[in-house]
Symmetry: D2
Subunit: 306 residues, 4 copies
């Protein structure tokens, strides 16, 4: 496969889609992003890296961090984690509190906000708050082989300031006894993980273990068990794109996780990890151009799993 | 791969699970099934067939027929079909009318009852009711290479008699103008397709085009386009098991579609099609032993897509 | 009290509100109504009648008929009726099927469509369909002392033709086993009662027993027990105006029941019965000018119960 | 009317109902109440007081305080208050967050928790937190003519400690921009008002202005306008008993407001105010014996408004 050619073609063909949609504006730090920015990177299980456009520009990975925290929490608790969070698609908006009420405070899956807060809660149970946030940052740095990766403090503060919906979710789950730790403590760590700043290149590199049964193929480190990686990829496939997860599976056919910062991480098991970034979002909150770029990628490479 | 050995091992290991759960009893015709029956069949893209247990016993395929009708309707309408039915997981019980109300009569996906009724409605729009039911039966016979395949009239009559929930769904969608034809006419065809009777062996054979990019590898007939098959498999992965679709992806990692008759059809793209049958259902309405047999299959063969 | 002066003042002051809102247009027969028509009539427990405007013009009483059918059904079943229908405000749109699902096919109260269908079902259980519709018409004629009162066949046919939402509700309740009779049979009687055609004067006269503890004060006939009238008036207060019942209690402070034909029947216990009609509806489906006229009435007469 | 005889008869006849149901146990301070306690008091608009049983025993009035805060907030804002809180029955559990989401953070009425938090928020907007709580206490003391009335600090602390559901509601409304002040500040005042401790005698005395068009008939002080009292009573009638408000109107036919401490305040416009207390609750969270005592009261006195 001529990966570079694929990326170059995509970068070319995606031009008319750049800027279509709307940059996230619920916090000032995100709203400043250039709606027409576009970057994409592929890292193969052989360790080769390919990139195009703004693949070296750092952006807020936001919900993509939920993949990293799920990896850590599964390491701590194994499938016991699923006593407190489900693994079914949610069928409604990503921050919906309705389903949470109908299901007695148990979030539907680890990729909606409520579920990710439970995942972070689990990490904190095992290693305290400050250590929890550090653990996530350390993992992101280790996986991306990039000490540059950082938590953007301004974004984290902004998230905390505008985080009343998440605060409501946390107290709601606390009232059901599902959340184990102090809601404010958990939220602080949660807001930090959302504020992780990475480039496409770093993100594609970081996701490589998901394409290689849990082992980083370059360092040979075991990041997660084979079974855990199967589960994480399955969740990315069924729940990775809010209320357009079905649509993503339908058009791209790969496990993927998006964030409101405009990034998407996708995985081709056994082959490669792909990261794309373009800040303007479709109405479900996923990068418009990013989603289309991955559809082109899937078509051009025939790497659709189905 | 020694497929026969895999099937024999599964048949052995699944013994303790047979009879766990509850046979569907909403119509008499289904409640008579032996809860401990178990059959399984694999057909590879090379055309080889392997089977174990009751793989030659006919059973009511019920909702698995939704895969066949979706194939026909996509052939008629292409992606226009998705103007009247979504492609997102439903996140609630398979016959829920709640989401249908919130979403103005547009069902979430073609595999919940409301969505499948729309799919059947589409077929009737293109070829009238009687012809519609015949078309589905003809396709089932052609794909399974088995003229024995039939519609069980007693089951069809029973479905009609006890079909008030589906009738309610149909009139509801009619009131929104989403259903195009007369509700009773559509329901008659719908109840017939649910009453299709096949064996595991026939079903595995019939699903082979889904494992081979739309082409029946034995007859070389094009049953569906490559793109349509990608879409159908994606929908089976995200929506194929009612409110346990996420769980099935999580544990089995293959596209699959279950029916309340206790059957499941699963697909391994590029490799094979698998059918399993055991009538006792788990609480989401999927075959308990069938689901576990496919989990064993996925583990033993490492054919989990993720 | 100078009732005529009150009515004349209201007829004067209401002028700017006539035509504000939207005439019901879900069936042709209703959409033809003059949006600026306005009539009002009061009948006191002494048997005096006062009227203004179009109080002699017949209109489709629609959901106001639910008060009459509830009276009949309570006579047949007493409080046993409430095993199959609740008595709580619904908190959502009048034809919502969502609550019906959450509450296992038991409608919230007898004044939402689903509940009224159960009430009609009860009448049919006691006296067969044709007889049921006749019983309702007979009661309307007897109470209004007007043999002119009739069922508008065109409206009834129109209701049946456009009644798929109600049909959906009926089959839904049938699927839960809550509806006792054949859905189509019940719906025929239900569509007939909705098509009752009365004038304000007839309607005010017909409602008089509700202001006099169940006894028609002119004929001295016992139409309902004292306890039943307490219950009917309570339901009119809490549930009589769809999702603006609270608002009506808030601004008018009297038991009332509205219909999409633009009519409202209100009761002042111990004093009088009031009917008003003006076809243009507010967004909750109640007569805009009719509601405001009753608010003026309540203010001018200080007959607000609170 | 021989009020004392009525009360004595009720106290006698209610005996078998005492202890039926379940004392609120979500906070320790409430769970200690004697399930068989029973008190009842009537204050007439002539200023006469009648009492029976434990009418002099202080109890936690809980949600009954919502009537007092609504009175204060209406005084500050008039009907502008209803821009941020509705006046429709909720049709679901009193602390439900589902409707709040569907209706964009606007609570359905001032008597569900979310709505009462908005009412308290309004008071704080006009007079700061500490002053707000003081204002409520002062009003309770003034209306009851009893300086003994106090806020039970232990209950208030307990409410705060176990108040995560209310905290979730407050942050939820904050995220929609409906709540004006700091959620924690509003909640502190809210928890204090819930912890108001009064006797039946004090409560009946305090509610007298609601039976007399807003004027305390003994002191001749105007507590609320005539129109505001009409509105408050209407809300008590349609929304005063959580998801059994319709049932209360149906069986008692009087405006009333209950609290999980087992108290109920009911109003007979023009005649009297009634308070009853018995801690064991029915499944909707209203005093079981208290509700039945008021039904007896309504029957014996024929003071049912309908």
């Amino acid at each position: 496969m001529d990966w570079q050619k694929v990326l170059d073609e995509i970068a070319q063909e995606i031009q008319p889609e750049l800027g279509v949609g709307k940059v996230a504006d619920y916090i000032p730090a995100l709203s400043a992003a250039d709606p027409k920015a576009f970057g994409m990177a592929v890292t193969t299980v052989k360790g080769e890296c390919y990139r195009t456009g703004d693949a070296g520009v750092p952006f807020s990975i936001q919900s993509i961090s939920k993949v990293l925290t799920l990896t850590i929490a599964l390491g701590f608790e194994n499938e016991d984690l699923f006593d407190r969070v489900g693994r079914e698609p949610s069928g409604s908006a990503f921050n919906s509190i309705v389903q949470l009420e109908q299901e007695q405070g148990i979030p539907r899956n680890p990729f909606i906000n409520a579920g990710a807060i439970i995942v972070t809660d689990t990490i904190i149970t095992h290693c305290r708050q400050k250590a929890g946030a550090d653990l996530i940052l350390d993992l992101a740095r280790k996986l991306s082989c990039s000490p540059r990766v950082r938590i953007d403090d301004e974004v984290a503060r902004s998230e905390a300031l505008w985080g009343n919906r998440n605060r409501s979710l946390a107290y709601f789950m606390k009232s059901f006894g599902v959340l184990q730790n102090d809601p404010e403590e958990v939220l602080q760590a949660y807001f930090c993980q959302c504020a992780l700043e990475m480039t496409c290149q770093e993100l594609a590199r970081a996701g490589l273990y998901l394409a290689n049964d849990g082992v980083d193929p370059v360092t040979n480190q075991q990041i997660a068990t084979h079974a855990h990686v199967n589960r994480i990829n399955a969740l990315m496939m069924t729940c990775g794109h809010y209320d357009m997860s079905g649509d993503f599976a339908f058009h791209v056919g790969l496990p993927g996780k998006s964030g409101v910062g405009g990034g998407i991480l996708a995985v081709v098991p056994g082959i490669c990890s792909v990261a794309v970034w373009s800040p303007a979002l479709n109405k479900a909150g996923n990068s418009h151009a990013g989603t289309m770029a991955l559809e082109l990628f899937s078509e051009k490479t025939s790497l659709n799993l189905f």
